[in-house]
Symmetry: C2
Subunit: 205 residues, 2 copies
């Protein structure tokens, strides 16, 4: 869902997108590509990693490390990896817990696993419809980015601006992913309260 939303938005903005999956002919990826025209294609995680200048990790957080391992460090080397995933563990029932948090985060785990990749955590604190269409939420609201590489963050900030984001908060290095991932329990609670995913965090100041 998240990959489809981001991929379709990127194509509408003129980019080419290859949707990666565990298998080369994932049914949903094939269907997504068909609907999105000539600039859309599909393949394995390795195919997508090799194809992209910028790579988005939109896999389930609990399997992101396995998916990125399958994508291959050599295919990702030196690239900007936008980590959108949250390590939500639904295996112990509802509400989900985080499979990593507090003194570590998924963003940091990915950066450690792939030291030659420029990991930027972003877009993980809102629903995917809001990610690509910030005006779905009225008024001012924020998207957070963090990562160790300034140039990579600038690349991501420019993509976010092209999505329509006006308030982009740079929280610093990748350890800030602890903070943005740990707001998920609050986000899920608010989803239950408002019964719509069309809300977002705003830092008033």
């Amino acid at each position: 869902m998240v990959g489809g939303a981001l991929g379709s938005k990127l194509i509408r903005l003129g980019h080419e997108v290859k949707m990666g999956s565990r298998t080369a002919n994932n049914e949903k990826a094939v269907g997504w590509a068909k609907k999105n025209g000539d600039h859309a294609s599909f393949g394995t995680f390795a195919d997508a990693a090799s194809f992209g200048e910028v790579v988005f990790n939109c896999t389930a957080g609990t399997v992101s490390l396995a998916a990125l391992n399958s994508a291959g460090a050599s295919n990702l080397k030196g690239k900007v990896l936008v980590d959108v995933a949250n390590p939500l563990d639904f295996s112990k029932g509802m509400p989900p817990t985080l499979s990593v948090c507090n003194s570590d985060s998924l963003g940091e785990q990915i950066q450690r696993a792939l030291p030659s990749v420029k990991v930027v955590k972003a877009l993980n604190t809102m629903n995917c419809s809001v990610m690509v269409e910030p005006t779905l939420v009225p008024g001012k609201h924020d998207v957070f980015v963090c990562g160790n590489d300034s140039q990579a963050k600038t690349t991501v900030v420019n993509i976010l601006k092209s999505f329509g984001w006006e308030s982009i908060v740079d929280l610093g290095d990748i350890t800030a992913a602890r903070g943005t991932e740990m707001v998920l329990p609050m986000w899920l609670r608010l989803l239950g309260l408002y019964q719509t995913p069309h809300f977002n965090f705003r830092i008033a100041r």
Copy 2:
């Protein structure tokens, strides 16, 4: 600091406040009482728990259970306990971690330890100056409450309104304390970024 800010605000609003400490004559509590006039007094945790109709837990989160044990379940029985604390553990260096999170929270631990007390988690997601003077942060912003007892939440909501809070979000039962306590790593990161505690969360929708 938090207890002093809340106590002084409550006195300005016409309430009587007894500041509890580990010892009956805590120097800071004595000083606070002197500055706050006839409606201010001090004593042990047990004295304060016995005195209050509504009790605020403003102790450091990692020692809150010990402080409340010292206050005494019989002194707290049936009362509304506003839990303002966060379980921040500074013992492993900076940034602090949470001593409890993810599948549990300090709010829930306190409710389990004191089943006859009506625990309402509130005010733990902002600086104490903002708690008692929401207009320090411009524009709309939110305070969150959660707890198992509806009447107790109404009592707390009315106190928050008297503090000047206009947007009070009821997140449901006490398990929502996981969510509000887990935003602290983000809050601390934002404190570092903005170099002022005069900011707050707003849910845009």
